[in-house]
Symmetry: C2
Subunit: 359 residues, 2 copies
């Protein structure tokens, strides 16, 4: 059995530490691991399966003997280092937005478009957290009745902005409880001009604004969904409308999803619930009489996507509402990335083709 | 000039104390006030325009010389006492859901259907908090282009569940920050079997569940909007689809509103922004380039409804998104109630007709 040298780029971050954990639990036969980070974090000691691993500074050369790279160190690091890793024979699964819209890079959620990994040229992209949980929930419905349009409003947790953002949210909450003014330096977006508190507040801005008044996070949900579900980021097969809002939750994104199917005759509320119940990577939590519905504090630490509050719109037959929750750092990031790597191993796709990315 | 004796029923609650404040600031010539509550709160001393007022226990007889009742002591108290007050010649504005769907009771948001107050039979109902801010934002758009349908997802603050709920949210947040398990006794709904923490969490249940899987809060948003905007709680003029979610915010509801107009030719994004800017009770906060958009912490303490993130859906011409925020205890409750009373005074409607409610 082939064993793999695996490198985790951004190993010390909120997603990176979870990638380590997911890799330990995965079916991937790991020969050796490398934990990579910026020079600032180099020298730190982390653990892998009980063994100490010293974090190394990322350079092109560290990828010389690496088979699989799992990357979550920001778009700039991925753009700089992943082509170097591929050139050296590694296959990279990238959790940043650097390559998602590149037509040469498959954008993959295994439950939805696993087959796309066969076309990789060395880099496979992991979608945005909010996109992943939505398409996992929509896929079994699309398979049976087709999808005409999706209108989604997100309730996104602070941890989506990284480890420092989690601390900021906690600090702000404590300031508020102590009757002090809240101070903000990260939310809504680290690099932006203005910062606002998230604790006990709502911020209808995630990522920067586009020319058309949408945010880049909303743009991602629209175009990533099209690329994953219809194979083309500009496909008009499924209309997607997204509003993304940051909420004072630490871990676990919520999504209020309204969707309209192509063939209403194929479904009713019970059938949608049944499809979710039997769907890949999905857990149905939908029992209003017993107050059972998905909540972020229950989803935290789990790799599945949780769905409840399923109901048909009485004024729009063939249209439904559902409430979708997942751990944004796991299924929204680390778990989906490792799952893609598992599929690469399973289908013996851990090799760079002759016409590799960036050649 | 006629002066009025005004009674506030539920004067010690989160909404009641704000009704006192709004009444002080109102244009209503007040002769005398009575602050009413349950026997538990009777004897407490509150202030009105600098004078001490002792809270009295509510009985039918206390309404003998009252002209205007402002009620927010729960549905049961309103059902019990408001017909008694009307029988004694008082006109009541009720902030509970007790009479909202009664065909003999106008349901009023002054910016939208002020004229409905002329039909009162002694009781006028104040809508649900989440309904009010949405219809205020939609009204100028409806006037110009008509409304075909609305799909709304709410982000509702904890204070909507009352004064004790605010304390519970704070306690839970402190427990979480101290690394202790969170304890819940009120959320999502005080009288329900199960309780879940709201701090750092999301609860897709507000009020109890209906047979069809929607919550009563969602039912209210659908049918109150129809009654206010189309004159009939079951009107099919405007389709309304609502998902209501409680979020860990103290004051200020957010709403992600998607709406489709009857006549797309009348509007574009700029025109919608202009209508909001000039709309009654509305403030436009929509400047993405300068990160200007409505936030609960900015709306707190204000009586206006704040709107931003206006944008047309490129895949659905004639459909728009907007983000609507208001102080749920003010425009969503106390301020709208006092505003209705001001309109009753302004139009000389503070008298009970011969065929009064419950006669």
């Amino acid at each position: 059995m082939r064993e793999y040298n695996v490198a985790i780029l951004g190993a010390t971050g909120a997603v990176g530490t979870r990638m380590i954990d997911q890799l330990e639990k995965s079916s991937i036969p790991v020969k050796n691991v490398k934990f990579l980070a910026s020079s600032r974090s180099a020298g730190k000691v982390l653990q892998f399966k009980g063994q100490d691993v010293v974090v190394e500074e990322t350079t092109p050369e560290v990828f010389d003997d690496v088979d699989i790279v799992l990357a979550s160190a920001g778009g700039a690091a991925s753009k700089k280092f992943l082509p170097e890793a591929v050139k050296r024979g590694a296959v990279a699964v990238d959790n940043t937005s650097a390559f998602r819209m590149d037509s040469e890079v498959p954008l993959v959620v295994p439950e939805v478009n696993e087959q796309a990994i066969y076309d990789h040229k060395g880099i496979i992209a992991n979608p945005n957290c909010s996109t992943i949980q939505m398409v996992v929930a929509l896929q079994p419905i699309k398979e049976v009745a087709g999808l005409k349009q999706v209108i989604v409003s997100t309730y996104q947790a602070g941890s989506g902005a990284g480890q420092m953002a989690i601390k900021e949210l906690d600090n702000e909450a404590q300031q508020h409880l102590d009757g002090k003014p809240m101070t903000a330096e990260i939310f809504p977006v680290k690099g932006e001009k203005k910062h606002y508190p998230l604790a006990f507040n709502l911020l209808p801005q995630i990522d920067v604004f586009e020319e058309d008044g949408s945010t880049h996070e909303e743009w991602k949900m629209v175009h990533e969904t099209k690329k994953i579900m219809s194979g083309d980021m500009n496909s008009d097969e499924i209309k997607v409308n997204a509003t993304c809002v940051r909420v004072p939750v630490v871990i676990g994104h919520g999504e209020s999803v309204f969707f309209e199917v192509e063939d209403p005759s194929k479904l009713d509320t019970k059938k949608v619930q049944e499809l979710i119940k039997n769907g890949k990577g999905l857990v149905l939590q939908d029992d209003p009489a017993n107050q059972i519905y998905p909540q972020p504090i229950d989803a935290e630490g789990h790799t599945e996507t949780f769905v409840g509050r399923v109901r048909e719109d009485p004024e729009n037959p063939g249209s439904y509402n559902m409430w979708v929750v997942a751990d944004n750092l796991l299924k929204g990031a680390a778990a989906n990335t490792v799952q893609i790597a598992e599929k690469l191993v399973e289908h013996d796709l851990v090799h760079v083709p002759d016409e590799y990315y960036g050649k």
